[in-house]
Amino acid sequence: MTPLDLPLPIPLAAAKFLLVAAFLLHIVFVNLMVGGTLVALHAHWRGRRDPVMLDFAARLISTVTVHKSLAVVLGVAPLLLISVAYTVPFYTSSLLIAPAWLSVLWLVTLAFGLLYAYKYGFDGWHRRQPRLHATTGVLGGLCLLVIPLIYLTNTQLMLDAGAMARRPGFFQAMLGVGNVFPRYLHFLLASLAVTGFWVTLWWGRAGSPLTPAARGQVVRFGARWALAATGLQFIAGPIVLFTLPAGGLTGPVALFLAVGVVSGLGAIFMIADTLRGTERMGRAAALLVVTIVCMGTARHLIREALLQRPTDAWGPGPTIARIAGVGSVDDFVGRGRGDHGDAGLEAPGAAQAYRGGAIPRP
C-alpha cells in the first residue's frame, strides 16, 4: 500500500539537484533573518551608549524584515522538492512530531509580527518605551531561535527508520535522534557569519548611506562577527562531524567538507586583512559562497548515505572509527545499500523515491 503509484514528475536526480540548489538559496536568507536579528539586537545593546550602533540596529532590522519574506517564499521550493523526492520518510517524521511541526506556523507568524513591531518601533516608540521595544525584539529573536530546532529534528528523524518505528515525540526525537544540537550550533554560527559578511559588504559599499566614520565602525563590527563566527565553526564543524550518525561520512562527503573548510579558512584570512585595513571582503564573500555550496552538497550526500544504511547502525562509534581509519571500505560506500530499500513500498515510484531503510512496523 502506497500513495506513490503515480510516476515521479521529474527525474529523481534532477529533483535532488534542484533540492540542494533551492535549499541553499533558502538557507542563506534564513541565515540573514536569524543572524540579522541577533546581530541587530547586539547592535541595539551597544547602542545604549553609542548612537552609531543604535542607528545601525534600526537599519539592520529593516533589512531583516525583507530577508524574512524572501526566506519564507524561497522555502516553498525545498518543501516541494523534499516532499516529492523523499515523500515517505519526510511525511512520516513530520507526522510523528506533528504538534511541533505545526507550531512552526504560529511561531513564525508571531516572530514576524514582533519583528515588524520592533522595526517600526525604531521610528519613535523606542524613545518612549525603550525596554518594551527592546523586549519585543528579543522575543522575536527567541521565536526565531526555536524554529530551527524543529526543522533540524524533523530532517534528522526522517533519516532514521529504526527511530521512527519507536514513534518518538518531538522532544524524544530532538534529544535522542541524530545530532540535532551540534547541527543547531553549526547553523547559528553560519547565520552570524553570513550576517557579518552581509553587514560589511552592504554598509561598506560605495553608495552606503552611512557617514564615512559610521561606515568604518559598522564594517569593523560586521567583520568581527564574520571572523568570530567563521572561526568558531572550526570548533563546531568537527563536533558535527564526530557526532554524525554512523554511515554518514563517505568519501565524497569528506572531499566536499575538505574543500569547504579550506575555502572557509581562506575567507578568515581575507576578513583578517580587512580588519587590518586592506579591503578584501568581496573575495572573502566569494570564498564563503564556495564554502556554503560545499557544505550544502555534503549535507545532501550525508542524507543520501544515511537513508541507505542499515537501520540498526545508529550511533557515533562507527563514524569515529572510520575517521580513525579503522572502518572498512564497505562502511565508506554504505554497507547494505539496497538491502532494505523497498520493503513495504511495492510501487515503482516509491522505490525510486525512498531507497532508505524500510520503516519497521511499530
Binding site: 500500500m1 502506497t2 500513495p3 506513490l4 503509484d5 503515480l6 510516476p7 515521479l8 514528475p9 521529474i10 524584515t65 525583507v66 524574512k68 519574506s69 524572501l70 519564507v72 517564499v73 524561497l74 522555502g75 516553498v76 521550493a77 518543501l79 516541494l80 516532499s83 516529492v84 515523500t87 515517505v88 511525511y91 512520516t92 513530520s94 507526522l95 510523528l96 506533528a98 511541526w101 505545526l102 512552526v104 506556523l105 513564525v108 507568524t109 514576524f112 509580527g113 515588524y116 514513534r167 513495504g344 513500498l345 515510484g349 520503516i359 512496523r361 511499530p362
Partner: protein, 440 residues
C-alpha cells in the same frame, strides 16, 4: 495507510485545514490579488489628480496589506501545506506528483510577487518619478493575479479532474472543466473583498471627506465584481457534474438543513443583486458609508468566499482526487485488495495488524483512524460519538455497509467483515464513554 495517524486536538484535522485555508484565502484575495489593484489605482488617482491625500492613503493601505500578506498571508499559505501534510499525507503526495510543475511554476511566480511587493512598498518614497513607481505597482498586480491563475488549475482538478482520469496528463488536469469559471468567480470576489477591506481600513486611515471619496472609489470595484461573480458563478454551477450538484445543498447548510438550499443559483443571484445595488447606491452617495454597513459588506463577502470554498471542498467528496483516491487516502484501485485482505494488514502504522479476539475495540479504533478520521472527530466537530455512539453495534455495522449509498459524499467502507464489526463496536462505545464522563 503508509503514514502515522495524527488528529489535531479539539477541532480535528478537517477544521484545522479549514481555518488555516479560510484565513489564507481571505487575506490572499483581499490584500494581495484584489488589494494590489486597489492600492495601485489609488496611487494612480493621486498622481493624475495631483491630490497628495490619495498618495498618502494609498501608502497607508499598501502598508496594511503588506504587513498582512507578508506575515499571516504567507504563513497561512505554508500552513495549508503543513496541515494537509499531517491530515492527508497520501492525498498531498499524489497531488504533488500530478501538479509538481504547476507548483514549481507557482513558486517562481511567488518569488517574483514577493520581490515585487517588497520593491513596490519599500521604495514608495524613494522614487522621484512616480510613474516609474506606478509601473512597479502594475508588475505587482500582474504577478499577484498570476499566482491565482496557476493555483486555480490545481484546485479545480481536485473537483473535476476532466481529461486526467483518461490520460493522466498534466494539461488535461490543469485546464479542467471548472478552471475558467472558477478563475472568473475568484477574480470577482477578489475585487469586491479588496474594496471592502480598503473601506474598512479607510475608517482609520482617512478623514471623513476622503473617506466619502474612498467609498465612491470602492463602489466601482463592487460594480466591476458583479458581472464576474454572475458569469463565473453560474458558469461554474453549469459545468459541475450532476452527482456533484446534488451535494451542494448539504455543503451549504449541512445535511440537516439541506432542504433550505436546494437552489444554489438563487444564492448567487441574490449576492450579485445585493452587490450591484450597493455599488449603484455607493456611486451616488456623497457622504461616507455608515461604518456598520462597511463591516457588514466585508463580513458578507468573507462569508460568500467561505461558502464557495466550503462547497468546492465538500462536493468533491467522497474523493480527494475523483476516481483515483477517496477522501481518507484510500486509492480506488486498492479497494478490492483491501476488502479481501483487510485494511489493518496493509496499514504500516496501525497499532493492530489484524482483528484478534479480545482486542476488537483496539482494532476498531485503528480502523477509525484509517478510514474515518480524515473527516470526522470522536466528540468534536463532525464527531462520531454524538452521531452513532451508544447505538447497537449491529445497527452501526449495518449503516457502515451502506454509508456511501445513504450519503453519497461518504466513501464506502473498505475492509473485512471483522474489521467492520470492530469499527462498529468501537463507535458504539463512544457515547457510553462520554456518558460515563458526564456522570462522573
Amino acid at each position: 495507510m503508509d503514514f502515522p495517524y495524527f488528529e489535531f486536538p479539539l477541532i480535528g484535522n478537517r477544521w484545522l485545514i479549514a481555518l488555516i485555508a479560510s484565513l489564507h484565502v481571505v487575506i490572499n484575495h483581499s490584500a494581495a490579488i484584489g488589494g494590489s489593484l486597489v492600492v495601485v489605482l489609488a496611487e494612480r488617482r493621486g498622481l493624475l489628480t495631483g491630490d497628495a491625500r490619495w498618495d498618502r492613503l494609498a501608502y497607508k493601505l499598501a502598508f496594511a496589506f503588506f504587513i498582512l500578506t507578508t506575515t499571516l498571508g504567507a504563513l497561512t499559505g505554508v500552513g495549508i501545506w503543513f496541515s494537509v501534510m499531517v491530515s492527508q499525507p497520501a492525498g498531498l503526495a499524489a497531488l504533488l506528483r500530478i501538479f509538481f510543475w504547476a507548483w514549481f511554476l507557482e513558486w517562481i511566480v511567488f518569488v517574483v510577487e514577493v520581490a515585487m511587493v517588497l520593491a513596490y512598498f519599500l521604495s514608495w518614497h524613494a522614487f522621484t518619478d512616480r510613474r516609474k513607481h506606478l509601473a512597479l505597482g502594475w508588475a505587482y498586480v500582474g504577478t499577484s493575479f498570476l499566482t491565482m491563475v496557476i493555483v486555480t488549475g490545481i484546485l479545480g482538478a481536485m473537483l473535476t479532474p476532466g481529461q486526467w482520469l483518461v490520460d493522466r496528463g498534466f494539461w488535461g488536469a490543469f485546464f479542467n472543466p471548472t478552471y475558467l469559471p472558477q478563475l472568473i468567480l475568484r477574480s470577482g470576489l477578489a475585487l469586491a473583498l479588496a474594496a471592502a477591506l480598503a473601506q474598512l481600513l479607510g475608517r482609520w486611515f482617512a478623514t471623513p471627506d476622503l473617506r466619502a471619496e474612498l467609498d465612491r472609489f470602492c463602489a466601482r470595484f463592487h460594480l466591476a465584481a458583479v458581472p464576474l461573480l454572475a458569469v463565473g458563478g453560474l458558469w461554474y454551477l453549469a459545468v459541475l457534474p450532476e452527482q456533484v450538484k446534488r451535494l451542494i445543498p448539504a455543503a451549504l447548510l449541512t445535511t440537516r438543513y439541506a432542504a433550505w438550499a436546494q437552489h444554489a443559483w438563487l444564492w448567487q443571484v441574490a449576492t450579485c443583486l445585493a452587490l450591484a445595488g450597493l455599488g449603484v447606491w455607493g456611486l451616488r452617495r456623497t457622504r461616507p458609508w455608515p461604518a456598520p454597513l462597511v463591516l457588514a459588506v466585508f463580513i458578507g463577502l468573507v462569508g460568500t468566499l467561505g461558502a464557495f470554498e466550503r462547497v468546492r471542498e465538500f462536493v468533491r467528496k467522497p474523493y480527494i482526487i475523483p476516481g483515483y483516491m477517496y477522501a481518507n487516502g484510500i486509492r480506488v484501485a486498492d479497494v478490492p485488495m483491501l476488502a479481501r485482505d483487510g485494511v489493518l494488514k496493509h496499514a504500516r502504522w496501525a497499532g493492530e495488524p489484524a482483528v484478534v479476539p479480545g482486542r476488537e475495540r483496539q482494532a476498531g479504533r485503528a480502523v477509525y483512524e484509517l478510514q474515518c478520521a480524515a473527516c470526522h472527530t470522536l466528540e468534536g466537530p463532525n464527531g462520531l460519538g454524538p452521531k452513532v455512539g451508544g447505538m447497537p453495534q449491529a445497527a452501526i455495522a449495518g449503516f457502515i455497509g451502506v454509508q456511501h449509498q445513504v450519503h453519497p459524499f461518504m466513501p464506502p467502507f473498505v475492509g473485512t467483515e471483522a474489521e467492520k464489526l470492530a469499527l462498529a463496536d468501537y463507535l458504539a462505545s463512544l457515547r457510553a464513554a462520554a456518558t460515563r464522563e458526564a456522570t462522573r
